[in-house]
Symmetry: C2
Amino acid sequence: MRTAFYISDGTGITSEVFGHALLSLFPAEFDHITIPFVETKEIALQAKQRINDRYKTTGIRPLIFQTFVDEELRQIINSSDGVCYDFLNAFIEPMQKELGIAAMPKTHRTHSIHEKTYDFRIDAVNYALANDDGVNLKEYAKADIILVGVSRSGKTPTSLYLALQYGIKAANYPFVQEDMDMLRLPDELKKQKAKLFGLTITPERLSKIREQRRPGSKYASLRQCKLELDEVEALYQKEKIPFLNSTHLSIEEISAKILAQTGLKRQKY
Amino acid sequence: MRTAFYISDGTGITSEVFGHALLSLFPAEFDHITIPFVETKEIALQAKQRINDRYKTTGIRPLIFQTFVDEELRQIINSSDGVCYDFLNAFIEPMQKELGIAAMPKTHRTHSIHEKTYDFRIDAVNYALANDDGVNLKEYAKADIILVGVSRSGKTPTSLYLALQYGIKAANYPFVQEDMDMLRLPDELKKQKAKLFGLTITPERLSKIREQRRPGSKYASLRQCKLELDEVEALYQKEKIPFLNSTHLSIEEISAKILAQTGLKRQKY
């Protein structure tokens, strides 16, 4: 199997995203190795050695996705036996021309700490934790968004992702039997109606997820899941709450769709 | 201010990472607009119109970072008044040559749902929540890693990030007064010593963070912070627990450094 190296003087996240996007276009499997924080000549030479060793043992040239801003380090990796793909370098020239200013490369700029953004994110994570699963109905006035839905429809991971990635304060509330019996919103949610966003899911998938949690329970039965989902979707319609079906979506996709549909302002770009 | 558009037939995350990495090289400010899920000709034409309108109102050509795999949609955006940067297209050719296979573009591959990976991530998020802040010491045998440190040193956001991004099960434990007085590890942690990873932080930064939480408290005082950090670092040294200082690091950087230092196997690449 061919090896893909992701090498960077920072976290390597950009190199990984860059490499994955390209590799996902090809119907093949790869061995993935990330070498982050290659910040000195010495570490770069070690990384080069790892690439060359890999070539020697496998006989196939590894692919190198790198995002160095330091020219000397970049050259060391480029001189390895790997096939180097370097997207920053490929686009700097045309961008300099278009912007009419020179690039001023600084390492660690993309995924490093930006104090203001950082505080927003940590605050948002703390908020999501304190307002997870309907444990707290009193802080909904501070929410940017309140995710609603039946138990296990994806609310918690989505709330946390919105907080960590975008600094968005997301509370989440799981409808309880009483809400459903009456087909009505609890008063605390009614007051914040413009912030509500519903999640739904197919009964089959919900039952499968719940089955892992409480095997053989009524809670996990297809009949119970279908009942709850029918009710909750009727409630969304009745109250005109925007919603989406999370069944075939990743956490990233659910979050991106919520941002696109609500026009929610993110704190981090 | 010049506008940067991130346009994609998927979440737009790849386009954003790609664009941010490039823009961060330039000493300038930009207006950011993401248009995700451009999946049809009609939506692509609307996106093109938004770009052209922006050019008309600002008089400056917007920058377009796009990652389309569909040729027709790509062409529609390319025919806009924006300056298009298209990294997939720039690298597909040389990669096809090197790999000796044709690219088989499929939309939504990078950040879409992969059932196996997905379950790992959700399980890891649930694990992190159930084992946050030392609330549960009984499930440490199932942990991939246990983050330790004083209150507010970054353990919780890091645990959640490791879970969401990498599917790693991270518990976290905040040392309590008794642990510190005795300069010893609780029994539950001793049993899992190989999994422990310590976080530390400067007293100044810790005091600032705690001050936001409980203004004027002893808990937030510089003296108390310094005392706790001295003790905790002595404990790390005594017990040979690997640790890092999170003061100037983002959540991404802390997580990447932990992965690099521990060699922890991630479930998601």
